[in-house]
Amino acid sequence: MLAYSLNRPVILERLGDDEEILLMMIDMYLQDVDNNCAALSSALAAGDQPTLLREVHTVKGLLATFADEDGAEMAAASESRLRAGDTNDVEAAIAAMQARLREVAEVLKREIGG
C-alpha cells in the first residue's frame, strides 16, 4: 500500500471547490481520529462482531472521504471478510487500519500547518 498523500484537487472537486468545507472536515477528522482508533480496539477486544463491522465500515467511508483509495480498499476488504464471518488475522487488519488512520491524520495536520 502506498503512503498517503492528500489529493487536494480530487477532494475539492467532490466538495464543489469549497475550501471552507474541506478545512472543516480536516478539523473534524483530526478531532475524531483517536476516538475512531479507540472504537476499533474496543470492539475487537470485546469480540463484538457487529460493532466491529460497523466501525470498519465507518473507517472505510472516512478514508474514502479524504480520497485515500488504498486505505478505503483495505478497510473494504476487512469489512467483506468480517461480513462473511472470517476473523482470521483480524487483529492485524485492525492494527493496519489504525496505523493508516493516524498516517492520514499526520498528513492532514501538515496540510493545515498544525
Binding site: G16, M25, T51, R54, A64
Partner: protein, 350 residues
C-alpha cells in the same frame, strides 16, 4: 424553507452533509447522530427531505425508512439513502423499503446537489398539489353550501307562495317542518334524514298553487265536487316537484303526494295503507294535522293542545301511523318550544 432531516452516526458526515444542505439554499437542516432519536423527532415533525446513512447502531437505514414510512403522512416524503456503490443488495432492499434515491460515499457535492434538489422539487410539487387539493375542496364545499342555501331559500319561498293563496301562514310551514323533524329524530332517523324532512316538509301543500281561488278560499264547507278538486293538490304538488335531481325536492314530491294518505287506507290520492305510505308522508301527516288543529283559521278557532293530542291518539292506526304519533308525543317539550318560536303573523295580503 425546506426542513432536511440528516441522520448519520458519523459526526464528520453529519457536518459535511449539513454544510452541503446549507449550500442548497432555503433549507433548514436538522441533524441526528442516532436514528432512534431521529425517529422520535419524526413522530412530531414532518421533514421535507430525509437523508439517512445505511450502517448505524441500534437501527440501520433500512429499519429507519420502514419505521418512518409507517408513520401517518410520511409515505410520500422523499428519502435519500447514503450507501457505498458496492452495496447493491442494500440498494435493492432500500428501494423496496421506500427509499427514493441514493447518495454515494464519498459524498460528491455535484451529485448531492442534483439529487437533493430533485427530491426537494418532488416535495414542493407534492405540497403544491396537496394545498391545491385542499383549497379546491374548501372552495367546492363553500360553493356547495351556497347552492344548498339558495335551494333552501327557494324551497321556502315556493312553499310560501302556495301558503299565500291559503289562509295558512308562513309560521305554519315552519312549525310543521320542525314538528316533522322532531318525529324523525324520535323515530331514530339519522341526522341527514332529519335535515331532509325539515327542508322538504314545507313543500307538502305546494300543489295548492293549482287549486282555483273559489275553492281554496271558500269560507264554508266544500261540496263533494269541490273537495275532489281540492284533493288534487296532492297530485299537483307531486307533478310540480317530481323528477328533480335535488334530494330535497324529490323528498318534497314524495311528501306532497303522500301526506293525505291515512294509515287505514282511507286517505287520498292512492288509498295507500300502513307502511305502504312513505315514511316521510306518515310523519308529515301527524305534524301537519296537529298544527292545523292548534292554529286559528278564518273559518275556525284554534283547538286546545289537549284536544289536539286526544285527536292524534284517537287517530292512531286509523288516520296516523301509531309509531309517528308516539314519536311526536315523545318530543312534546320540543313541540311546545317550536310553537313558541314560530308564532302566527298577520296573514299577508296579495
Amino acid at each position: 424553507m425546506h426542513t432536511v432531516l440528516i441522520i448519520d452516526d458519523s459526526e464528520i458526515n453529519l457536518t459535511l452533509i449539513k454544510a452541503l444542505v446549507l449550500k442548497l439554499g432555503d433549507c433548514d437542516p436538522v441533524l441526528f447522530d442516532n436514528p432512534v432519536k431521529a425517529f422520535e423527532w419524526c413522530k412530531a415533525n414532518v421533514p421535507d427531505l430525509v437523508i439517512v446513512d445505511y450502517m448505524m447502531p441500534d437501527m440501520d437505514g433500512l429499519q429507519f425508512i420502514a419505521a418512518f414510512r409507517a408513520l401517518h403522512g410520511r409515505n410520500e416524503i422523499p428519502v435519500l439513502m447514503i450507501t457505498a456503490n458496492d452495496q447493491k443488495d442494500v440498494r435493492y432492499e432500500a428501494l423496496m423499503g421506500g427509499a427514493n434515491d441514493f447518495l454515494n460515499k464519498p459524498i460528491d457535492r455535484a451529485e448531492f446537489s442534483a439529487r437533493s434538489r430533485n427530491m426537494l422539487s418532488l416535495r414542493t410539487g407534492q405540497k403544491y398539489l396537496a394545498d391545491r387539493a385542499s383549497h379546491l375542496e374548501a372552495e367546492v364545499a363553500a360553493r356547495t353550501a351556497d347552492i344548498r342555501d339558495r335551494e333552501k331559500e327557494l324551497i321556502f319561498r315556493i312553499s310560501r307562495a302556495a301558503e299565500f293563496r291559503d289562509p295558512e301562514t308562513g309560521a305554519h310551514i315552519q312549525r310543521m317542518a320542525y314538528y316533522s323533524q322532531v318525529v324523525a329524530r324520535n323515530l331514530g332517523l339519522d341526522g341527514k334524514q332529519q335535515r331532509l324532512i325539515l327542508e322538504a316538509a314545507p313543500m307538502h301543500d305546494v300543489g295548492k298553487i293549482g287549486i282555483p281561488d273559489y275553492i281554496l278560499l271558500k269560507p264554508g264547507k266544500l261540496t263533494h265536487d269541490e273537495f275532489e278538486i281540492m284533493k288534487g293538490h296532492a297530485r299537483l304538488g307531486h307533478e310540480l316537484l317530481a323528477g328533480s335531481s335535488s334530494e330535497t325536492i324529490s323528498a318534497g314530491a314524495e311528501i306532497a303526494i303522500s301526506h293525505h294518505e291515512k294509515y287505514d287506507g282511507s286517505g287520498y290520492p292512492h288509498q295507500l295503507a300502513g307502511k305502504s305510505i312513505p315514511l316521510f308522508g306518515r310523519i308529515v301527516a301527524v305534524a301537519d294535522v296537529f298544527d292545523a288543529l292548534t292554529s286559528e283559521r278564518p273559518y275556525k278557532k284554534a283547538w286546545s293542545l289537549e284536544d289536539a293530542v286526544v285527536f292524534l291518539e284517537e287517530g292512531r292506526g286509523k288516520h296516523f301511523d301509531p309509531m309517528c304519533v308516539e314519536a311526536f308525543l315523545a318530543g312534546w317539550d320540543d313541540v311546545i318550544k317550536i310553537r313558541q318560536r314560530f308564532q302566527d303573523e298577520i296573514a299577508p295580503q296579495l
